[in-house]
């Protein structure tokens, strides 16, 4: 966590190839590359360079964390690097509470950093002009200041309908069997009326 942030390729000394570790290395490489792509590091060269660097740092830590998968160590390293890179970019706070990584990502996102400065990600030696200033000026408001007030329905006399139909519907809601019986009764009345009409002489 407290190692210096040397991101140059000079610092990389990849280990000698060991076929037994091939799968673990592949997974770690893939994971870190995917993560950097999720971070919208669009340049393949920049991504490959960062991936190699991160794997090197994961390798350095491996001896002290023998049970931890290499991919997990590599992602930890990647996030550690990003965290410290962001801490150096964001403005100091009055209460000295450190920024979370989420706040850092949000700031980058709000100033469109991945699009405007595609090669600036994890690149402290080549910080583009205006990058830090833009980052400091970000603010999101989902709504203006609240002015809470009430909006309460007024009492309403529904008149006749509420009286008889309302109580009937409430009863039907409480006792659905009554509604079914009511519908059956209507059907029976319909059959009786039909029977009567079909036997009347004039239609």
């Amino acid at each position: 966590m407290h190692r210096d942030m040397d991101l140059s390729l000079d610092a990389i000394t990849l280990p000698s190839w060991n076929p037994d570790d091939a799968m673990a290395w592949d997974e770690a490489f893939g994971k870190v590359e995917n993560y950097l792509r999720a971070c919208r590091v669009a340049s393949r060269v920049h991504r490959a360079r960062l991936t190699a660097l991160i794997l090197q740092r994961a390798l350095d830590r491996r001896a002290s964390h023998p049970g931890v998968p290499l991919a997990t160590l590599a992602i930890d390293e990647a996030r550690d690097l990003i965290d410290r890179w962001m801490a150096g970019l964001l403005p100091p706070r009055e209460n000295e509470r450190p920024y979370t990584m989420a706040e850092g990502f949000l700031s980058l996102y709000l100033c469109d950093a991945p699009m405007r400065w595609p090669n600036a990600f994890l690149n402290p030696r080549q910080e583009p002009p205006g990058f830090a200033d833009t980052l400091h000026a970000r603010l999101v408001k989902t709504g203006p200041e609240l002015q809470v007030s009430s909006m309460v329905p007024r009492a309403m006399d529904r008149g006749l309908i509420q009286g008889w139909a309302g109580s009937a519907m409430d009863t039907f809601d409480r006792l659905p069997i009554l509604r079914t019986l009511f519908l059956w009764t209507l059907f029976a009345i319909f059959l009786i009326v039909l029977f009567w009409y079909t036997r009347s002489k004039t239609i």
């Binding site: 997990t72 990584m101 609240l146 002015q147 007024r154």
Partner: protein, 717 residues
């Protein structure tokens, strides 16, 4: 301001009572005469129960026809005179400049699982128009989301941030997502008003597919300022962007025939108009004070689905007027693309309108508002009434046929004996008068278009108007019985207590014809149509032809519906300039801008099929930027309940180990609403060994940002 303009004078309001008296006297007289003639026809051979029932059903059905006819005739003469003293628009001159100091106005856009691209492109267009016109400083825009589809929610958030970044709209465009969508759209608006309502004098409510020009927005504010008695001013949104045959047909009919009906409606309703739920400006303080919706019935926990009519009635009850401004222009909306989408929307509206029966006798409502509520109910109940009317007629004819009795209708007695035409001819005359009353309003609208050369040219010329009218009239006649069957079913289902789900409205054409849905929906209509036609033919070939306008529509419902749903046919018709409407011939800047952007979006790269159903979840979990953005928009809860944490942990484990499909939509929403769960998921998905992750996540990680380094939202092209 008042020196340059004038509010609606009191004398005009008094005269509106005279107008209403005259108009409805005419409706009663015409319906009365028609009923008398119908009684005369039915009376031959003596009255019976069936004949009485037919006559009783005839009254509201013919009353509706008369109302529409008279409304159109009144509208025709108003538009012919080009002067309507009752138009709210006339209270300020067209050339009146917009004052520098306008009161603060909120534009509220409630959305629910809508097409995010359409919502935000419409918003972008309006925002840029407000910036160009210099009015933006007086308007705040609120996107009020009730979406319960996780993908839509995330897409809305991303689109909001991106749009605000692109147009520099932070602090002017706001986004709010309710955790619980209580009381649907009206609850969403009330929630907004309780939080921010006091900041604004006016609120413009828009639908997800609404579009309004900056000048229209400013003019609406001016109208409210000049008319302090106005509580709501409803604009008439012009239909736009119809791509299917059906949508083009509807927008042609709406644009050509609409104005005379609107002018006629304004003739009798005046300041007792209706609110249609969107594309309207509302005076916030009285709305908050008087228009909070009560429960549907005392004691039951149900609310009005069609809140707008009720809100208009409550506003009028509080002595504020509700106007329809049919002249203002610059207000637009999309239409359902297919007959099935139209029917689906009708189903919701049907339930909403039937619920208004609870208010018909409510104390304090203005009689015109009661009439609005009643007409809303009748517009749907008329369908089963018409169906029963036709069934009784068929049954009566069958009884004669089965009994070998000679039809007595043609006997030359009663009224027809004075005219010496016989009962049969009198019945035929009645039929043609009814048909004429349904057709004449459209002919009047065509005449109006012919009288205005510029308008005629914008419709594609005289012969295209006539051809369009003939096709539209034929197809609407064929579709009417299908609509009758749909509405009858809806009424029966709703009255028998079946629930009507709150589904988002489809507002855009799909890629092709959905044959399965069409056949499923119309198979019953076809069978009924064939059976009915066969029975009619057996009774009498004459009766078969009497009934043919109904049976032919039902029999042909599947091919007609398929034809109307075809986007390809709609495109060809547009190329032929058939069903062209003025806004297509000469689109306004905002419509042009929106069209251009939406065309570009249609060519964007979509996520693959396996990824699309859970794209939003994938973005939030995998993407560190969107994870951070989403977390920042969530409410941080200081108190954590232990069993909730345990449940959430179980959901997270399942989500990562089995993929998003292993969670229900509610479970997905629960995870995405918890700020800690969202952060944990992001950490875990990247740090867990691949063998612990579901194949879906492994694949998603490999594919994310490979095709594009940006999320697939409307705003990235």
């Amino acid at each position: 301001m008042m020196s340059e303009s004038s509010a609606m004078p009191d004398s005009s309001l008094r005269r509106s009572g005279l107008r209403q008296a005259f108009f409805f006297t005419m409706v009663v007289v015409m319906t009365g005469v028609a009923t008398w003639v119908m009684a005369d026809i039915l009376w031959r051979g003596g009255f019976s129960g069936i004949k009485m029932t037919v006559l009783v059903f005839f009254v509201p059905l013919f009353g509706m026809v008369t109302l529409g006819f008279l409304q159109a005739v009144c509208g025709f003469f108003i538009l012919l005179r080009k002067k309507d003293p009752f138009s709210i628009s006339r209270t300020i001159p067209d050339t009146m400049p917009v004052p520098d100091e306008m009161p603060a106005t909120a534009i509220a856009i409630p959305i629910y699982n809508e097409d995010v691209s359409r919502v935000y492109e419409g918003l972008r267009t309006m925002y840029l128009d407000l910036v160009r016109s210099g009015y933006i400083s007086r308007f705040d825009i609120f996107i009020l989301s009730d979406s319960n589809n996780p993908n839509k929610w995330i897409e809305e958030e991303v689109a909001w941030i991106d749009l605000s970044k692109q147009v520099k709209g932070f602090g002017r465009i706001f986004y709010r997502k309710r955790r619980l969508g209580l009381n649907r759209k009206s609850g969403n608006i009330s929630d907004f008003l309780r939080r921010w309502g006091r900041k604004y004098r006016y609120m413009v409510v828009l639908d997800a597919d609404s579009l309004m020009e900056a000048n229209t927005l400013a003019r609406l504010v001016q109208l409210m300022e000049v008319n302090p008695q106005a509580g709501i001013i409803q604009t008439v949104p012009a239909p736009i962007q119809g791509r299917t045959f059906f949508a083009r047909l509807m927008q042609f009919a709406g644009t050509l025939y609409g104005p005379i009906f609107q002018a006629g409606l304004n003739y009798w309703q005046a300041g007792c108009g209706n609110f249609w739920g969107h594309n309207a400006i509302i005076r916030v303080a009285p709305f908050m004070e008087h228009c909070a919706l009560p429960m549907l019935t005392a004691g039951a926990n149900t609310r009005f689905m069609s809140h707008d009519y009720v809100e208009a009635a409550l506003m009028r009850r509080a002595n504020y007027e509700v106007w329809m401004d049919y002249e203002v222009g610059g207000s637009y909306e999309n239409l359902p693309p297919t007959p099935l989408d139209h029917a689906s929307r009708d189903r919701r509206w049907c339930r909403g309108n039937l619920q208004h029966a609870w208010l018909i006798t409510a104390q304090g409502l203005h009689p015109v508002n009661r009439l609005h509520l009643f007409l809303g109910i009748l517009s749907y109940v008329a369908s089963p009434l018409w169906l029963i009317f036709l069934i009784l007629g068929s049954f009566s004819a069958w009884m004669f046929w089965a009994g070998g009795t000679v039809l007595t209708y043609d006997s030359d007695v009663g009224f027809s004996s004075f005219l010496d035409i016989g009962g049969g001819r009198l019945a035929l005359m009645m039929f043609f008068v009814t048909m004429a009353m349904l057709t004449v309003p459209k002919i009047l609208a065509v005449i109006l278009a012919f009288l205005d050369r510029e308008r005629r040219e914008k419709f594609g010329g005289g012969w295209r108007i006539v051809l369009g009218f003939l096709i539209e009239h034929t197809l609407s006649a064929l579709m009417a019985p299908v609509q009758m069957m749909f509405n009858s079913r809806f009424v029966v289902e709703i009255l028998s207590g079946r629930d009507v789900p709150w589904n988002p409205q489809s507002r855009d054409a799909r890629t092709g014809i959905d044959w399965e849905a069409i056949i499923t929906a119309h198979m019953g209509h076809t069978v009924i149509g064939i059976t009915w036609a066969l029975i009619a033919f057996l009774i009498s070939p004459v009766f078969f032809w009497w009934l043919s306008p109904v049976t032919f529509g039902l029999i042909g419902s599947i091919p007609i519906s398929a034809m109307l749903s075809a986007p390809g046919l709609g495109k060809r018709l547009r190329q032929m300039k058939l069903f062209t409407i003025p806004i297509e011939a000469k689109p306004s800047a905002v419509v042009r801008h929106l069209d251009k952007n939406l065309r570009a979006i249609r060519h964007r790269m979509e996520p693959p099929d396996w990824l699309a159903p859970h794209y939003g979840i994938m973005q939030v979990v995998l993407d560190p930027y969107l994870n951070a953005a989403h977390s920042s928009l969530l409410r941080h809860k200081p108190k954590v309940v232990q069993h909730v944490t345990r449940d959430l942990h179980e959901l997270q484990v399942r989500l990562l180990a089995k993929g998003p499909a292993a969670l229900t939509r509610r479970e997905q929403m629960a995870v995405l609403m918890n700020v800690q769960a969202v952060a944990d998921l992001h950490d875990h998905v990247w740090s867990m060994p691949e063998s612990s992750l579901s194949p879906w996540w492994r694949l998603a990680m490999r594919h994310y940002n490979t095709l594009t380094d940006r999320p697939q939202t409307a705003l990235y092209r």
